[in-house]
Symmetry: C5
Subunit: 354 residues, 5 copies
């Protein structure tokens, strides 16, 4: 489940800019992958020692260093030292649960955003913080654990598909962000399906369980919205900010990315409104059902209570009840009772209760 | 029905700018129509081969190429190649379910918007994505299927009515957009009629069906709103943006179009508020009815339950019940019972329950 | 009643700028009134033929041409031709149901707004579209039918009261708009009175009818709000826009007019909030009443059902029921029954149900 | 009570800028007080004739003319004539019920705002319109009736306390406005106390009366908000506007005043939200109570109705009912009945209804 | 508890800028602590007499004067006099209950914000107003009582940890504010835990107590929001404002602080929405329960009332009731009664009430 609040209390009291890992440790070991390419060459390897990546900072080829696992502060600090990351940036990378943000530091651009994974087995959505550092010829990406939406990107680099091998580090950073945003649509589709199932359930057989599901989905989508919404500003800032690191040829892609972000937020809003509508509908249908129940009760009670009273009268044991002696009294009472019952039925019919 | 979310998942992992058709394939075959005109000449024909249209790019006459059917990526790519459309534009054209958007690329202006059709037979509204490319002397429009709101425009070109034959490609693009926006009013009128019928139904014979209809209309109008709302920005951008492709003489028309868009959004908001009002009214009337039912039940129960008890007393078989022997006991009991009943009736009358 | 949506469908397909009358035809014949004045002279007459007014365009005196009735397109087109109105302006004039708007065309200023009339006999509010054209020395006003809020203005011109005869055409236009806005306050007072009556009714004798009235007033005020709200922008634009047609000496009046408009909108918002409050109150009072009803039912049922059961026991015909033979059984049962009844009464008293 | 809408209809049709008194006449006679001071001298007197104050316009000392009572149009016009007030300003002064406003006319600054009085005897809040004219060396204040929040100011002038005697007319105007805004806090405290009492009542003994009080307070605070809210703009304008009449040394005070205004609005919003919360709570508690009532009813009915039926069976008079002859039938029936009753009690216990 | 409104009435009528203590006196005695440091030296002491701190104003070392307890106006005025604080600033310091604010006075920067303490023993959150004055080489902080979130800061100064001893007074001020904002997260975590407990309670055993808790938390979080929300502007202003007192090297920290503030507000909003969701869920579950209760009642009543009536019929004492004589009448009646009961059970089953 998307989490409400990360436990930040363990960090209280530390000087600003102290990189302390906050959040669940999802990966056992830190895995560092290095991909280095230009139009003609391509190299990919898992490295044991972060220092192996340092020489690539200076090369003119595009270098992508991906770190899975954030709990080893040492590695973060070494990278920070070599690539010149401000201590506050280092802090943000390891302190998961950040709002998406964009920071234009002069030597690099720093972006935080959330990647979502739909876990089939738990029927649940997981969030993971991804931090991306864009330098002049390198991109460093930090993830909480292995498994990401970047496989298609790796594939395209390996097989030199699309324009990626012809473009610089800025395009690589864009493509990574784009693949994360693209994945939001898949998550939304999942929610869309769930909501449609819910809508179906609501018209056929609503139960308190249905309401609980509506409530749970509302909360999940609300948390989703909170972690996607700031992306608007982030990508808007990417568009406006004049950084020498982001080439003009990238701008048309960033604009496209912005449109996608808006569309994601739009779709989330739509889902929220539909869920609110379903909740209203559920409550109305409960009201309606209660009404039905009450009508049935009232009709039964209003018809049989007077009749029972009439029968009760002639069940009394008074010695002097002249009616009891009459031959036609019993059938006459039946006639009276049937008349009363019919009269009430007509009354209820007129009121459209039947 | 307006659709909630297009299946975008099939596109996940493709490089940005890959034109892949997303959405239902509505047309069997792609139909390309070419209209070419200036003040004196006019030519209209259906072409088999998209290449036939290419020479018209250079002519000084106004050329309108309309493509119905988006699933043939090949055609889109050929047009894109010849007319110089950015790969992201090509992607947007075939990836239906886009938000309305306006893009001022230097060599052409790109507009996406939604066209609505009311289908009498299904009593339903269909949405179709229309993309319009405006070049210096040509307009290219892409639709998902045949059948549009452009017939009146074709008519005016053919018969040289209005100012259309005297104006340039920018006016043609404006007229196409205007005809789409104009059609929104017709759709809104349909909804207006439905809502009025609903209002009528609500005061005469409301049922759970009424509520479901309210709910369905609310959702439809909400989806309508979502796909019209961004038009405000689109046409606002058209107004502000300084593109050499859009002449000054067009500006007064664009301003008028902007007013119409605002009015459409205004009307949608009004319909939404009225529907919300109807929903409230429905719920209140359910509450009220329940109240009525409860009153009837209470009156019957409160009057006859005590009377039945009184009759029950004298139905007991105790050997020593002096009242049973008295001659006047039975009529006296009747008097007592009628007194109780009348007393309760007066009590209920006083409380305005009768 | 204020209308929801004007039938615009008959206009679909016409070229932009075609003046086609949309809306109910309220006047039988078109009536044209011409008032011409300066500080010393004054002339007023009803003219048969619109051409009679044309020479006044050039004179230095202030000329006010008022047209009641919009269905005669011919007249509109003739005026448009002579006074140089853009075809879109002509379209807007006859296409009633426009949003209030302000357009600064170079040769004249064009303003559309709604005039309201309270019809005593129908206890209803009518809306009428008024279009005002301000030229350098003339004002042309278009109304749907005779009868307006301008009588006081005519009076002041005739009798040379106030500063009107000393001022130019811009002041005349301002005064006309001001008289329309002033009249809104009278309409709001009417609604204020109705709402106060409703408030009274709600505390004394609320019924489902009260709720329907609340609902109807909410809808009417909502439609009122929609047709007044854009006025804010209209008059704001009038203030900001630098048109040579609007003199500086007018500006202080326009600012005052703006304040009035804000106050109108403020009052409408207040009325809406009060109505929402009343609706809440109504629903709460229904809930409360239901609660009362239920309590009465429960008290009666809970007391008499056990007693009836007790009586039922001794109404059984078993041969071996020792209690039936006991002399004191019957009075003992009475004691028991009274004890039970009192116990329950105390129980309900404690729960504050009595 | 704060009034909803002032009767403005009597003013309809008058030329703009006609000073006509609108609103209740609260004072019998107009009382004019003149205070004139500089650092060393001080004079205070009630004047009969407004002309007596005219010479003070030119003196270099600070002059404060306070007028209580607005119904004597003659006096207003005389002041207006001598001190050069625009006719629209005169109109605003006497037309009570204005929104707070700020107007920077070149020769003076014009401010309207509302002063509130809490009337202990009526447990109610009264609003009064106060207009303040700031000239270079004079301040003119207009009030509807005697009695104001300015006594402390007069005191400080008389006794030369604080910096007031050392400062100019602009500081005097500021101090007057500040004393009005300060008084808002006192009014809010009153409402705060009422709401706390209400909160207490709601948890101990809620009744329909509680709801009516909530509703009334909501309406009053809503009207309060409407008449305080525009103050934000007024004082914001005072801050921004560059008037030679307002010295730089005043600016830090105006900024402080702005902060206070924001705080007032903030507090009003808080009160509104708390009231809305209380209303929700009331409605929930009504629902809950209804639930309780229903449970009691259901438990009684569900237990005793089956038992009564069982007793009814053996109250029948069939000749051949073998059970009636059996010795142990009566005690057996008791056992059966007790078993049924216990079973139902357990059932209800399990459902947590007991 | 967070307080709604501070009693400001005692201050009414005083000249603006009179430092009068408003609020509860939380500290018995005023405690003044002085910390003076530079990169090499460090001194910390509690001083009895405020004058002891005056010489430090001029030294080039960073001096932090912390005052706990605001009720001794004398001390405030002495500090104000020596350090040149405007009388309005002095007023704000002692008048607790201010909105957070930022003021750039030329010689110093003045910041007010709220510090929260979670009191374990009362399970409650306390608010305390903290005012911070930043001069060129000194920081003065005012608190209502001892006990704050600054202990970590003191520790870092004492032990020369982090960069604090190397930085100026501006960094000290930033660190103080940062420690206050950091502490908000801890408070929010507390609320987060409470809300999760509530959520748990709601699904297992909801009671009216649950609703009251929801209501109380909503109010507390609303008050929290009101006192944190203005911080956005405060820190935004700190970022924008160009004060020579705030060095450029601090800016990256301030930006980080701004992000934290946004995140705090975001989290508060999330908590609010979740609480609203819980309230809705509670109300729905009440509705649902009522429905269940009603169904049980209706089923019992609808089955046994007709049966009781049937038994009542044959409990009548008419002399001529042929059925009573029949041998098979009693078993036949049983069959009839069982048939009726089964029929009704099937009926209810079909309606899904069972």
């Amino acid at each position: 489940m998307l989490q409400l609040l990360k436990k930040a209390s363990e960090k209280v009291g530390l000087p600003p800019g102290s990189p302390v890992h906050v959040g669940e440790i999802k990966a056992d070991e830190v895995k560092i992958t290095l991909i280095d390419y230009d139009q003609t060459n391509y190299e990919e390897r898992v490295i044991e020692n972060i220092e192996e990546s340092f020489p690539f900072k200076e090369t003119s080829t595009v270098t992508w260093i991906n770190i899975d696992g954030l709990h080893n502060i040492d590695i973060i600090e070494k990278i920070g030292g070599h690539f010149g990351l401000h201590s506050l940036v280092q802090e943000d990378i390891v302190h998961t649960g950040q709002r998406p943000k964009f920071e234009n530091l002069d030597e690099h651009v720093f972006v935080i955003l959330n990647m979502f994974h739909y876990r089939e087995e738990k029927d649940d959505v997981d969030a993971e913080q991804v931090s991306i550092i864009l330098g002049s010829t390198f991109v460093i990406s930090f993830q909480e654990e292995e498994g990401d939406t970047f496989d298609f990107v790796r594939d395209r680099i390996r097989n030199n598909r699309g324009r990626i091998r012809r473009m610089g580090a800025d395009y690589l950073a864009y493509v990574l962000i784009d693949s994360i945003v693209d994945n939001y649509f898949a998550i939304l589709e999942k929610y869309g399906e769930k909501i449609e199932a819910l809508e179906e359930e609501l018209t056929t057989d609503p139960s308190i369980e249905t309401l609980n599901t509506i409530h749970r989905l509302k909360k999940e989508i609300m948390l989703l919205r909170r972690s996607v919404w700031p992306l608007r500003e982030v990508i808007g800032a990417l568009q406006r900010e004049e950084s020498s690191l982001i080439g003009d040829s990238i701008m048309v892609f960033v604009r496209d990315l912005y449109d996608h972000t808006i569309q994601v937020i739009d779709s989330i809003d739509t889902l929220q409104e539909i869920l609110s509508g379903l909740q209203d509908l559920y409550l109305s249908s409960v009201s309606n059902k209660m009404n039905e129940v009450m009508k049935v009760l009232t009709i039964f009670a209003a018809i049989f209570i007077p009749l029972t009273f009439m029968a009760g009268i002639y069940g009394m044991n008074f010695e002097f009840m002249p009616e009891l002696k009459l031959r036609w009294a019993y059938p006459a009472l039946w006639v009276a009772m049937i008349t009363v019952a019919l009269g009430l039925l007509i009354f209820f019919k007129r009121r459209r209760w039947l």
